[in-house]
């Protein structure tokens, strides 16, 4: 009986949350298309979310591309197929590792900082103060971050893909015995536009998930420092899980078509 009741409460709580998130998403879209537009806030969000993520994203991609080249070489050499390294590094980065690792690393950096910032504003009554000063907090705080993350992530992923391929190339010509021209020619001949596009489209979804998760958890932070801590943790965990789940669904969709 008790188990059933607890289960009932869980389901109830879960449905409640889905309702809240849906309301939140609807109000984001409504506020996206109605004036006023806070241009300066939007620019600031692009700078903080897009531009400032470049270093960490670049390093992630560089090391991943390098490690991937070594692994593929080790695997490939078992059946004398070392020459597949450039192709698999490029395809693997563009289709899967670029978007997913890029998404996760940006989620760690951005979802957490959005949730902590908005959560602190919530618990110090700054969100209430915004409303009393005739400014809608969704429009002023959430819309710029959602726009910036959704539009920056595809670009970040495209840049990450290139840096990852560069990482593979550097390892390929320095540590493995590829010549620069063979490596580049092989990359160029194997990589298709659709490989790159599938990754970039994933970026649109991942960017939206990251900003939504950060903003939603910040907005519903409960009181005190503990509340902000919990909101930050939930934001990162939710963003990562939803990125991985969405990645599978999108990969399935691209794979079938």
């Amino acid at each position: 009986m008790k188990v059933l009741r607890n289960l009932g409460q869980c389901v109830n709580c879960f449905l409640n949350k889905i309702g809240k998130v849906t309301d939140f998403i609807i109000s984001i879209f409504l506020n996206l298309v109605t004036p006023p537009i806070y241009g300066r806030e939007i620019l600031k969000a692009f700078y903080q979310i897009g531009w400032m993520s470049l270093p960490v994203l670049g390093l992630t991609a560089l090391f991943t591309g390098g490690a991937l080249a070594l692994q593929i070489y080790a695997g490939g050499s078992r059946f004398n197929a070392e020459q597949v390294v450039p192709a698999i590094v490029a395809i693997g980065m563009a289709r899967e590792l670029g978007p997913v690792l890029g998404g996760l690393i940006v989620a760690a950096r951005v979802a957490s900082s959005i949730a902590a910032e908005i959560g602190t504003m919530k618990v110090t009554e700054q969100l209430d103060a915004l409303t009393t000063l005739s400014t809608n907090p969704i429009k002023y705080l959430v819309v710029p971050r959602v726009l910036a993350a959704t539009l920056s992530l595809p670009a970040l992923i495209a840049i990450g893909d290139s840096i990852g391929i560069l990482g593979g190339y550097l390892v390929g010509i320095n540590r493995l015995d590829f010549s620069s021209s063979t490596y580049l020619a092989s990359t160029a001949s194997m990589l298709q536009i659709s490989d790159i596009f599938s990754g970039i489209i994933k970026g649109v979804f991942f960017g939206f998930i990251i900003a939504l998760s950060g903003c939603f958890n910040g907005f519903y932070a409960s009181n005190g420092a503990e509340g902000v801590g919990k909101a930050t943790k939930s934001a990162v965990v939710a963003a990562c899980v939803f990125i991985l789940a969405t990645n599978y669904i999108l990969t399935e969709a691209f794979f079938n078509s």
Binding site: M121, T131, S134, T135
Partner: protein
């Protein structure tokens, strides 16, 4: 003018307001006293339209406050939040003139900054504070900046949520004098939440005592000290025994 009519509010299982009525006519000043956690801030948030009451209605200058569309009444109200609630990411002058920079009534940056400096002077702060960020200010200065933000644009109604809590006696006196001055010179209706019994007479003409979700006593500030009412007697003497449940 503020009219609060029979407000009820429950959070989860906790009944916070149980039929609150407060009336404050134009130009009056009222202090709201009561135990911590008694729902005083909730009353102000209902007045602002930030929280929707379960039952009852609130009017600001005869206009009904709506939770879905708080904008209609908010433009008449200035609010000083309990923790100041200044925006960390903006300098002081942008905090003070926020509603003229981002809100519906626009001012140029130059005019807004001038207006901010005028209001800083009203609360006894130097123009140099205008370019500082809230993180660089002391608690008393933050309160004064928040006060400047509450009075900018001459609102008809000003709400103060514990304006002096956590400040030293000298700063408390400074803030109370500022509030007195605002009450006397600005033709505003004020509602001030306070714990500080000795401030009540200084900052307001009327008092209401909230306990267990209802207003238990209302009267003139002058009458507070001499009142025989058991609620007032217990509250102002800080007694443990009496009708107010303290735990």
């Amino acid at each position: 003018m503020i009219e609060i009519k029979n407000i009820h509010k429950t959070f989860g299982k906790q009944k916070v307001l149980d039929g609150v009525n407060i009336f404050a006519h134009q130009g009056s000043s009222t202090a709201l006293i009561g135990t911590s956690g008694g729902g005083k801030s909730v009353i102000l948030k209902i007045l602002l339209g930030l929280i929707e009451p379960d039952e009852g209605e609130v009017f600001i200058d005869k206009v009904k406050v709506s939770h879905r569309e708080p904008g209609r009444t908010l433009s008449r109200i200035g609010m000083l939040f309990q923790g100041s609630a200044l925006f960390d990411s903006l300098p002081v002058w942008q905090n003070i003139c926020f509603k003229f920079l981002k809100g519906t009534e626009k001012l140029s940056s130059k005019d807004a900054k001038e207006l901010a400096i005028q209001n800083l002077e009203k609360v006894g702060l130097n123009y140099k504070v205008a370019n500082k960020f809230p993180a660089d200010l002391s608690g008393g200065m933050k309160k004064r900046v928040a006060l400047a933000r509450a009075i900018v644009g001459n609102p008809k109604i000003i709400l103060f949520d514990e304006p002096t809590t956590g400040l030293d006696p000298i700063m408390t006196n400074t803030i109370n004098s500022l509030i007195r001055e605002i009450v006397e010179t600005m033709d505003v209706t004020t509602l001030t939440i306070t714990h500080d019994i000795s401030s009540v007479q200084q900052i307001s003409d009327n008092v209401a005592l909230l306990d267990s979700g209802r207003i238990r006593w209302e009267g003139k500030s002058k009458e507070l000290k001499g009142s025989k009412d058991p609620y007032v007697f217990q509250f102002i003497n800080g007694k443990h025994n009496g009708p107010i449940n303290v735990n």
